[in-house]
Subunit: 190 residues, 2 copies
Amino acid sequence: MKELQEKILKEGTAINETVLKVDGFLNHQVDPFLMQRIGEEFADYFKNRGITKVFTIESSGIAPAVMAAIKLDVPMVILKKQQSKILNGEVYQTKVTSFTKGTSYELTLSKKYIDKDDKILLIDDFLANGEAAQGGIRLIEEAGATVSGIGIVIEKSFQPGRKKLDDRGFDVYSLARISRLAKGVIEFVE
Amino acid sequence: MKELQEKILKEGTAINETVLKVDGFLNHQVDPFLMQRIGEEFADYFKNRGITKVFTIESSGIAPAVMAAIKLDVPMVILKKQQSKILNGEVYQTKVTSFTKGTSYELTLSKKYIDKDDKILLIDDFLANGEAAQGGIRLIEEAGATVSGIGIVIEKSFQPGRKKLDDRGFDVYSLARISRLAKGVIEFVE
């Protein structure tokens, strides 16, 4: 998505070899019109997959996910990041460790909002090591539902997440694919 | 907002005198079209205030806030809930204690995304004791900016948050005002 690449080059900041700050339009301040176009791009790409719900992981994926859900005319579900909590049998829960942030959390989904017939489009802001996406996939598959597509706003293609998802046969559509980061340097996959 | 009241009556669950679960369309599963109409309703009400940015508190306010931001043609900013973190002078931060959830967090705003000339519309999903809203107001006022309006999706009018904000002279627009909750009972302000 050319517009997104240009926005990243103009407003993103590469701190080092692994960290890209996009706090100005995606993670803290949010450009709502860009989110709308991103959501529409995902919806257009995945429109013939019979998607029944858009899932996202709180909280930076919510804005693009709600826009995709509108365009696909389906509900959106926010997978919650919770601190350890007593399971009561009404939720699916899986531990996710973020290497990027050095934290872990319990990704949680109420059993009420997924069904084995659901075809899920999973949307997230970043794909790096793939831990968050794989956590979402575990919850969806535990419910017996289908991951029908994965939409990523910014993929760090030099990290292993993309390959892990490709190897499992998922259709991953990333709107910006970054091949290299360094202090002040941002390069995209050709 | 009649449509929201009807949705709350149909799909919300009053657990006891203080807890209303709306996980089916607002807090976990999200109805994107309802969020769009909620955002438009906020935008319409506050349209003549010269709003420059929509602020919200992560994460259930993001969907309605991004919709309001689109309609008002301004950026949206997500105030972050962080665990205690070292302040580096680049952020405004204030402690918020949620009586409802029995937790506390540091509400955080980068100084880059607010200016003393900003007129902010603050949007949140619930207003109960008003702690989160007041935390957002503290950050906005610390930056020297103006709180030009507060948009609330569901107000528990029997709790003190609304009065606290009214007493300080803020214009609070709540789309559903609940006068009483009890197990299985949801009543609205006339």
